[in-house]
Each structure stands twice: as C-alpha cells, then as structure tokens.
C-alpha cells in the first residue's frame, strides 16, 4: 500500500501541496481531479522524489519514500508516466522498451507481455520514438513503465491530446492493469474518461485535499463535480 500522510511540498519555498493525505491499495484506481495549478502533478513528483517534501510521510510497504533516493523509488515497484509522455525520442521503440527492461532487471518474457498489450508497438519496434503518433507515443510511455512490472503506477494525464479510440485503449489498459493487482493513481482533466473506471476520487484545490469519496458517489451525483471543479 502507498500512503501519503500530511505531505507538504513545493518549489523554492513556495508551498504548492499542503498537508495532503491519501492511500492507494493494490488493485485500486484512485483518480485525482482538480483545476490547472491545483497541485496534481506536484503531488506525483513528490511521491517520486523529484520534488522533496517539506513535511509529512510517504509510506510504501512501511518504507518512507522521503528517505529513498529518487532513482531507487522505481526499483521499489512504483512506475511513473509523466504528462507529455517524455519518451527518449532519438531511440527506437525497441530501445525505449529495453531501457525500461534493463532498469527493472526484466527479460524477454516481460517485453513480450508488454508487446502483447500493445501489438501496434510490435509493428514499429525499429522506428524512432519521435516518428510515432501521439497515441503510439502514449502506448510506448506506458509500455516502458510496465517493463518495470510496477505494483503501483502513477499516470499523469494519459489521455491528453489523444483521439477517442486511443483514449478507450488507454482506459482498457488501465482496467486490465487494475485486474492484475496494480494500484493506479491517475491524474486527469477529462472526468468523463476516468470516472467510470475509478474506485475513489480525490479533489485537489490550491494544493489542499478538498474531499475523498467513492467514485460511485460521483457517478450517482454528477452535480458534485460542479461543486468541486466547476464541470
């Protein structure tokens, strides 16, 4: 289980995240909703150690991630797919996956599993990442993170800029991962894309947690969305 306890963090003294608490269990999808600048990406970067927390604890199977160097956090089983995909554009699809496999010490079986999830990547193995379409890039970014076989996956706006068929594919992939027991923390602007698959929803505003509720409550009372994020 991943657990944030009263975590505050920010940039150069400016506090962005303020005493946020959250828990994410295996096989659970927690969706973070909030307006631009609410602190959603800061929250993910804080978990991954890219932004040092000023206070609080981030516990993962009893280990406080604040004591772990950022490059070792992935090795503990937490994958992160940042906003904008951030591929290694000069490397081919195969080389991008290889970097992920190598980092996790995984072999061809993992590679085949990932390619099984995204057959289109298998057709483009020797193509440079910067020549892929937006949807294919998202598949590659997701595939590369899955090469580490994470137990928890942090996804920052995975559907950004994608066409509806790709959004559906990404959503199906997230559901498939959940079914294998992977815990997923999902940041999304497109509520319609994620509400149907989320177990829990957390509203973030000005870096503060406004509320955490079962996604079913929101599905039954869509008016609540207007209250929290004005949608």
């Amino acid at each position: 289980m991943l657990e944030m306890r009263s975590v505050s963090s920010g940039y150069d003294g400016a506090r962005v995240l303020q005493e946020v608490s959250l828990s994410l269990s295996a096989g659970e999808i927690v969706c973070i909703l909030g307006r631009n600048g609410a602190g959603k990406t800061t929250m993910m970067k804080t978990i991954m150690g890219l932004i040092r927390a000023d206070s609080g604890q981030i516990l993962y199977h009893g280990t406080d991630l604040l004591d772990v160097p950022p490059h070792q956090i992935a090795g503990l089983g937490i994958g992160y797919i940042p906003q904008g995909r951030r591929l290694f554009s000069e490397l081919t699809v195969a080389e991008n996956l290889e970097i992920g496999l190598m980092a996790g010490g995984k072999g061809n079986a993992t590679r085949d599993k990932v390619l099984g999830m995204f057959p289109r990547l298998a057709e483009r193995l020797h193509q440079r990442a910067n020549t892929l379409s937006g949807g294919e890039q998202q598949m590659l970014a997701t595939g590369r993170a899955l090469c580490l076989e994470p137990q928890m996956l942090l996804l920052d706006e995975p559907t950004e800029g994608l066409q509806p068929s790709m959004i559906a594919l990404i959503r199906d992939t997230v559901v498939a991962l959940k079914e294998t027991g992977v815990g997923i923390l999902l940041v999304e602007q497109r509520v319609d894309a994620v509400l149907s698959i989320a177990d829990k929803v957390m509203f973030l505003e000005n870096g503060k947690s406004q509320d955490i509720m079962p996604a079913s409550t929101l599905r039954e009372n869509p008016d609540l969305l207007k209250k929290y994020i004005g949608v």
């Binding site: 992160y80 940042p82 290694f88 000069e90």
Partner: protein, 316 residues
C-alpha cells in the same frame, strides 16, 4: 536476409576506415601528414562527443584531459626514461585519474555551472603546467626525441608508420564509440541526454552514469593527447589552453553531435577551412567565422547529422 541497423552502421564505418587506409597511397605528402594529424585530433573530438554529443553535458575544460594524456606520456618518457608503450599507458592512466577526479567534483553542478567549473579546472591545469616549468618547460614545451618515438621496433616518426598508427588509434576509438553507443550503457547515456528526470524515474543512477561518461570521454581525450605527443614529438602548454577546450566543441558541432563520424568530419572541415583561407588572406579567421556561422544556421545538426537525418537514419 535484411541487415540490422546496428550492423549496417558498423559495416559503413568499417568501409570508411578502409577508405582512410587506401588514401595514404594516393595523397601527396602534405595532405598525408595533415590527415594523420586530423585523425588524432578527431580521436580527441570523439572523446568529447561521448560527453557532449551522446550524454548532453557541455564541458569547456577538455583540454585538461588531452593535456593529462600528453604530459602523462611526455613527462614519464622525458624524466623517467620510459619507452613509448609504458608512456602511452601512463598517459591513459593520467587521463583516467584526472577525469575521474574532476568528473566527481564537477558533476556536483549542472548546466551553465558545469561549463564554468570545467573551464576553471582546465585553467587551473594550464597554470599548473606553467608553474612547474622546470619539468614541463612551460609555454615553450618540450620535444620527444625521435629516437624515443619507437614502438615495438617501429619508428613512429616515419610518415607511413605515423599515418598507420594514427589510423589504428582512430579506428579503435571509432569502433569503441559505436560499440559503446549500441550497448545498453550507451542507450542510458542517450536517455540522460534526452530526459534526465525520466531516466532517473526509470530507476537509473543518473549521477553515476554521467560520471562514467566523463571518465570514458576524458580517457579517450587523454589517449589522443598521448598519441599526439608520441606521433608528432612535441608536448606544450598550448594544448592545455582554453583554445583546445573550445576546438573539440566546434569540431563536434560542425560534424554532428551524437554521430560517431561527426567529430572526424568536423575536424577535417575546420582544419582545411583554416588551412585554405589562411593561404588567401591574413584575415582568415573572418572567413572561417563566416563559414561556421552559415553552417550552424543552415545545417544545425552538423554535416553528418544532416546527412543522417536525410539519408541514413540508422547511422550511429
């Protein structure tokens, strides 16, 4: 059967080395000598390219690594009476140790600070060479006697053997660079260049990989420095000056950063640009400068970089 991209790249570069081998039989003596010098300097630029072109770290202090190899070899031969083989080894070790030490300290910074710190270390190295003038002969430098420039009974001051030795050094370092960049370690370096934060998030110790890149880069530059002194018989403080830190950056930019052959093409182009323009006018640096600005504007990826983009995407 289709050849893989990495094999195609290896075959292409081996073909290029074969061309360089054949050129010695047709080139006039002047260009023959120039090409030997260019191959050694290009080896220096290839070392620089590992750090700048592949890892994305811009150093302004590589002259200290080149000079470490040059003086590591020259001083042990001159003052300790070592022969060429152990002398080269001393140059290699000196470069490895200096780059490990400087890399360890300089990598505590990044970006512009890294550039400034490497520049300052190189200046400190340059001044150290001048300060210990009793041994290094300071600005004047010192000559390595022709009688000492012999390896395994082969006189390396002879133009033919010098050319072949330069080609051997260049060929080994070229193939090593290709091998390195096709390896997993090389892919991590490229990943760091592309996105350092993302590489770290995948679980790589970015600092350690960058340090290894500084050591590999510095050691290759040092081997080139040692070979330069051995093949051309001279070691001087000029090679440790800031000018020799800027040169490899220019050569690599012109030829194509992050391409294995770019450093050679860049060095060749600039060497002959200055050589030819200086025969036309005393204001030759103006011509060279204009040519460099035009090339940078119209071929931003360098000569080999543009060539790769348009015709050979598989080129390492």
């Amino acid at each position: 059967m289709m050849m893989s991209d990495s094999k195609k790249s290896v075959v292409f570069h081996l073909g290029f080395l074969a061309l360089l081998f054949l050129l010695q039989f047709i080139l006039p003596a002047y260009h023959h000598g120039n090409l030997a010098r260019i191959m050694v300097l290009a080896t220096y630029a290839m070392g620089y390219n590992i750090l700048f072109g592949y890892t994305g770290l811009l150093s302004l202090g590589h002259a200290m690594f080149f000079a470490a190899g040059m003086y590591g070899m020259g001083l042990t031969m001159t003052h300790l009476g070592w022969t060429a083989g152990p002398g080269m080894l001393a140059g290699l070790l000196a470069g490895g140790l200096v780059s490990a030490g400087i890399g360890f300290l300089a990598l505590r910074t990044s970006g512009v600070s890294f550039m400034i710190v490497t520049l300052m270390f190189a200046q400190a190295g340059f001044l150290t060479i001048l300060y210990f003038g009793e041994w290094t002969r300071g600005d004047e430098g010192f000559v390595i006697r022709q009688a000492d420039r012999v390896f395994a009974g082969i006189d390396l001051s002879h133009p033919t053997y010098r050319y072949l030795a330069a080609l051997l050094l260049f060929g080994i370092c070229l193939m090593l660079t290709i091998r390195l960049m096709q390896s997993r370690f090389g892919h991590v370096l490229i990943a760091i260049r592309e996105n350092e934060e993302r590489t770290q998030m995948l679980g790589y110790d970015v600092h350690f990989h960058k340090w290894m890149a500084v050591i590999a880069s510095g050691t290759m530059a040092a081997v080139a420095g040692a070979a330069y002194a051995l093949l051309f018989g001279y070691a001087g403080a000029t090679f440790a000056s800031v000018q020799y830190s800027i040169f490899p950056l220019l050569w690599v930019l012109l030829g194509g950063a992050g391409t294995a052959l770019g450093p050679f093409i860049g060095t060749l182009f600039m060497f002959y640009l200055i050589d030819l323009s200086s025969s036309l006018t005393t204001a030759y640096m103006l011509i060279a400068g204009v040519a460099l600005v035009l090339l940078t504007l119209f071929l931003p990826q360098g000569l080999v970089g543009e060539w790769r983009r348009k015709m050979m995407p598989w080129l390492t």
